[in-house]
Symmetry: C2
Subunit: 700 residues, 2 copies
Amino acid sequence: MMAPTLGGSDDVLLPDFPRGPLQAYRVRASFSWKELLLFLEGEDVLRFKKAVFTALENDPLFARSHGADLSMEKYRELNFLRCKRIFEYDFLTAEEMLKSPLKVSVLIDCLGMYDWSLAAKYFLHMLTFGSAIYSSGSERHFKYIQKIFNMEIFGCFALTEVSHGSNAKAIRTTAHYDPTTEEFIIHSPDFEAAKFWVGNMGKTATHAVVFAQLHTPGGQRHGLHSFVVQIRDPKTLLAMPGVMVGDIGKKLGQNGLDNGFAMFHKVRIPRQNLLNRTGDVTPEGTYVTPFKDARQRFGASLSSLSIGRVSIIGMSIVNLKLAVSIALRFSATRRQFGPTDKEEIPVLEYQMQWRLLPYLAAAYALDHFSKTLFLDLVELQQGLLGGGHGARQAELGREIHALASAGKPLASWTAQQGIQECREACGGHGYLAMNRLGDLRNDNDPNCTYEGDNNVLLQQTSNYLLGLLARRVQDGARFESPLKTVDFLEAYPDILGQRFVGSSVADCLDSAVPLAAYRWLVCYLLRESYQKLTQEKRSGSNDFQARNDCQVYHCRSLALVFIELTAVQRFHQHVHHPSVPPSLRAVLGRLSALYALWSLSRHAAVLYRGGYFSGEQAGKLLESAILALCSQLKDDAVALVDVIAPPDFFLDSPIGRADGELYKNLWTTVLQGSNVLARPSWWPEFSANKPAVGRLRSKL
Amino acid sequence: MMAPTLGGSDDVLLPDFPRGPLQAYRVRASFSWKELLLFLEGEDVLRFKKAVFTALENDPLFARSHGADLSMEKYRELNFLRCKRIFEYDFLTAEEMLKSPLKVSVLIDCLGMYDWSLAAKYFLHMLTFGSAIYSSGSERHFKYIQKIFNMEIFGCFALTEVSHGSNAKAIRTTAHYDPTTEEFIIHSPDFEAAKFWVGNMGKTATHAVVFAQLHTPGGQRHGLHSFVVQIRDPKTLLAMPGVMVGDIGKKLGQNGLDNGFAMFHKVRIPRQNLLNRTGDVTPEGTYVTPFKDARQRFGASLSSLSIGRVSIIGMSIVNLKLAVSIALRFSATRRQFGPTDKEEIPVLEYQMQWRLLPYLAAAYALDHFSKTLFLDLVELQQGLLGGGHGARQAELGREIHALASAGKPLASWTAQQGIQECREACGGHGYLAMNRLGDLRNDNDPNCTYEGDNNVLLQQTSNYLLGLLARRVQDGARFESPLKTVDFLEAYPDILGQRFVGSSVADCLDSAVPLAAYRWLVCYLLRESYQKLTQEKRSGSNDFQARNDCQVYHCRSLALVFIELTAVQRFHQHVHHPSVPPSLRAVLGRLSALYALWSLSRHAAVLYRGGYFSGEQAGKLLESAILALCSQLKDDAVALVDVIAPPDFFLDSPIGRADGELYKNLWTTVLQGSNVLARPSWWPEFSANKPAVGRLRSKL
C-alpha cells in the first residue's frame, strides 16, 4: 500500500515506532496510522517536515533541556542564536514561500512544536514586520525587505500601548509632519501612550513599524497610520536618541521572546518612512489617499488582521495536538486500580477518559478547519496582490474576517481547556515541568488575548451575521457568501421549524445529526439576538449600549455556534468525501461525530429551550452517543496520536514518548537534572543557624 | 457604628483606602465594606491577621520581587529562610492552636496569600508531618513533636510513589520485621516504587513518615502502615546510608517548595519507629491491632484524609479571592471603547463582566462553605481526641468525608477556572508575571490533583449518596446525617414531582429558587445513577466495572450537584439569618442568589431533560436573573473586593492595588525590573556575528 520510499530502510519517511508498552493498543487499531498521515498531509509536506525535524534534532544548538531552570537572559540568548540558525538553514526561500504558502504555516508549526518563543521571534520579524512593510508600504520601502531577510536589521510591530489594546483606533502616539525638514515627529504624549507588549522590542529589534495618529500642518488629523522607526543602532543595540526602549519583564510564558515598550520623545524620521499604501503626505504636507473616507481605509486593513488570527488558530491546534498526545500516551501506559487487587488496568480503559477523547477529536476537526481557512486566506491574499478589489473580493474579505474572528476564540479556548484537562489527566506527573504541559498551557494562553481579546473578537462575527439578517429584512438580500458558510440561512424559517428526530444511539453516530442541530441553533440564536437588539434599541438605547447589552447569552453564543457549525461542517464534508480511502472512513467518521456531538452537548439547554429537543430521550441519546463514540475510539486513540504527534524530540515529554516506557523515561529524566542528589548550597542554614522560636513574637 | 479602636488613628484595624480612581465605585457602594468585613470575620480574627500582615510586610526578608527571575536554588533558599523566620515569629503557640483552631487556618491563608511555597513548606512540616506522628503514633513518638516545633528535625509525608498515587493501597514499598535485631527493613523493590512528589523531601527533610506494606516473620502481610524514617543527617543534610533521596525538579508552580523522591535500599529502623495507633508489632514479631479487619483500620484513617482536603478547599478559595480582587480592580479602572470616540468607559460597565462577577459571588459563598466545613471537621477531631467512637461520630466522619471529597473538586476547579477567566479579563497585562495571575494559576493547579484527583474523589461522594439510597431501598433506613446535608432526601419522591414555578425575573432573585431546583437535581441524578448502576450490574458487569461505567453524566454529576447544593444551602442560611445587620442583607442576598443561579445554569439541560424546566420562559428567566444580579452588583463590586482583598503587599499585583492607579503602578514596577533598559549581554551576537543565510541549507 505504501510507496517503496516510505518503508525503505535508507530513507524512511515514516519509520515504525519502537516496540514497548504502547504496542498493546497499536495492534488493536482499526487502521494504519501511516496511511492516515499520508492521506491528511501528503508526501510533499511530510518530507518537508522531516527535513526540518531532522536538521534541528541533529543540531546541538537545539539540544533539549527538559524543564531546566534557565535564566531569562540565557533563554533569550539561546532563542536568539536559534533564530539566527533558522536563517542559516533557510528552510524556505522567498520563492518557495510564494509557491507553497502552506509550507510557511508548516514551518511555523514545526518551530512552535520545538518552542513557541523561537517561532514567535522568527515570524514576528520575518512575517509580521516584513509583511507590514510589504503590504502597507510601497516600492520606496522594499529596501527593508532584503535587510530583513539577511538580518541586517531586526523588526517588530508596534501597535498596542499601555492603555490601549482592543480599542486600537484610540492609540495616542502622534506623528506630526514638519514640512520644513520633510520629517515626521513621532511622539508619546505620556507613559500611558508608551508602546507596550511589542514582541522583539524588549532587547533585539532595531526597527519598528509604529502606529501613530497622523497630523498634517494646519491641525488636520488623518487617523492611524504606520511608520518605520529606527529604535536601536544595529552596531551596538543601544537605543536611538529620543527613544526610551526596554523590556516589559517576565511573562507567564514565551519568555524566550523579548516583549518590550517604547516611549518616543519627539523622534524625527524622514517623510519616506510613512508606510503609504493607504495614504501619503506630500513634501509640502498635503495628505493624499486613494480611499474616500477613514472607515473605508480601516476596512482595507481587515485582511491583514485576518492573517494574525488565522495563524493563531494554527498555533492553538498545534498546542492541543501536543497536549493530547502526551496525555493519551500516558493514559495508555499508566495503570491504576483494577477489578481485583492484583491487576491494574490502564486509565485509558476507564469511562472517565471521556475527559480526553473529545479533545483528540477536536484536534483533528479543528486542524482541518485551520488548514482550509488558511487556504481561503491565501486565495484572498493572492486576489488582493493580483489587484482584485471587486465585490466578491470584498465579500470574501468580510467572510474570512468573520471566520477568523470567531475561529481564533474557538481554537484558543479549546486548546487552553484541553491542555488543562490533559494536565489534570496526567495527575502529579502532569505537574512536572519536564513533561511540558505547563509550558503548553502558558505558551498557549496569550492566543486568547493577542490579535484581539476572544470575547471582543466574537462581536465581529455576530455583527457580520446580524448585518446579513438586517440586509435580508430590510432589502430582501439573499444569504450568500463566497465560501458559502452562510448560504444555509436562506432556509432559516424552515430550519427553525425542524425538530430532533433521532430515536436510537445508532441514529446519532454520524455528524449529520449534530450538523442539523447546529444549523437550527444558529438560526435560533440569530433570531433571538436580532430580536433582543431591536428591543434594546426600541427601548431607547443607543447603538453602542444596545450591542453591549446583547452579548451575553445572545450575540456571543451566536458567534460560537456559527463557528462550531462551520468547523463541524468542513470536517464532516472532508471525512465523507469519496477520496477518503475506505479503510479510513470508519475512524474519521467517528472523530467527526464525536467532536460534533460533544461540542453540541454544551448547547443542550438551548436546544431544549427552543424546542428542538423535547423529552428525556433526546438529551440522553446525545450523551449515550458521545460515550459510545469514546468507547469505539478508545482502541484507536494511540494510533490516532501516532498520526498527530511529532517525533519525541519535538514532543519533548518523558511521559509522552513513542516507546511508551513511561516510568523509565520519567525516572531517567529526573536523574538527568542538575544537582538532583546534591544538598542545597545553603545547607548550614538548616544545620547550624537554628531558629530561636518565638524570638520575634514580642514584636507583634 | 464601629468600635473606637477600629477607626482610631494610633491603632487602626481597618484604615480607609487611599483616594484614587477606584473612589468613583467606592462611593456608589450600597454598604460599608468595614461593616461587612467585621461581620464576616470578627474583630479577633482581623486583629490576628493584621499582626501577621504587619510583621511580614515590615520584615526585609519578605520583600517582594515582582515577577523576578529567581533561580530555583535562590528561591528555595529564600523560602527556607522565611519558613525559619515564621518559627521565630511563633504567631500561634501550640496552646493557641488548640484553643482557636480556626486561627491555624487563618495563618495558613495569610502565608499562602504571601506565597504558597512558604505556606506549604511550613504546614507540611508542622501539620502534615506533625499530625501524622501525633495522630498515628503513640507516646513513644511524642519526642519528635518538640523537635518539630524547634526545627531540630525537618519532616515530610511520604505516601505516593512513581507508579502509584490514587490507588494508595497498592503502594509497593515494604517494611519487613526482623525480630533478631528488633528492626524494620524499609525497602523499595524498584524505581517505580520510589517515593515521589513528597513535599520537603527534595532538599530539606531529615525525617519522613513513610508508608509501606508491613510484613512480619512467616510471610504475614498486614497492609499499609506508616514509619518514621530518618533520611538525612540533620548536621550535614546529606543522605543516610541506604537512602537515595533527591529532588524531582521544576514544577509548574510552587517552586519554592522542594518536592522529592526517595528509594530505600534495605534501610533498617528501630521497631519503635512504627506509628502504632492502628497496629503494632511485638518485639517477637507478632502483629497486634485494636481493629478487627483491615477495612475497618483503613476507615479509621478517613478523618485524617479529610484534613488535607478541607485545607485545600480553603487554599483554593484564597486563590480565587486574590484573582477576582485583581481582575475587578483592573476592570473598574481600565477604560476601553465608549459610546463616543471621545469618551471611554471602565470595562466593568460592560455586560460581559458577567465573566467575572459570578466568581466574586463564588468567592463569598465558597469561603463560607470552607469555614463551616473546617469547623465541622474540628468538631469531628475533638470528638475523636475525646475518645468518641460512637455511631454518631462514625456517621459524622463519613458525612464530612463525603463533603470534603466533593468540596475539594468544587473549590479547586472553581478557583482554577476563575483565575483563568481573571487572567483573560485583564488582557495582556494579565499575562505579565508581575501581576500574579500566572502564579495564582500555577500554584492553584495542584489543588486539583493532590490529596486525590478531583474526578476520583467525586466517586467517594456519589458512593456515599448511593449507599444511603441502597440502605433506604433495602432496609427502609431514614435519610439522615449529623450535619443534616442529606435529610431533605427523605422527601425525594415529592421533590421529584416538583416543577419550576417562577414567572418573572423578580421571582428568581433570591437563592431560595435555585435551592429548590438543586434539591430536585440531586434527587433526579441520584435516581438516574442508582438505576444506571442497577442496570449495569444486572447486565452482568462486576461491581468495579459497573461503577466505572456509571461515572460520566451520572455519578460524577450527582456528586457535583450535591456539593453545590450544600454550599448554596449554607450560604443561603447564613445570609438570611436574623443576625445579619439590615444594611448588609441586600448585598449578601444578591451574592447568594448570583452564585446559586450561575452554578445552577450549568445544569439547565438536565433541568429541562427531567422536566423540572419546561418551555422557553424558564431558561430565559434563569439567564435574565443572572444578568440582573450582575448589574445590581456592579456598583458594589469594588467594595466587595475591598472586603476580601488582603493589603497591597500581600495581593502583590500592580494592576490590583487598592489606590486604583493602574498604569502608574504598572509602569513603575516595569521600570523597577533589572536591566530593563540595558542591551542584552550577548549583543555582539546580533551586531557582529551575522548569519550566513542558507549556509546550512545544503545539509537538509
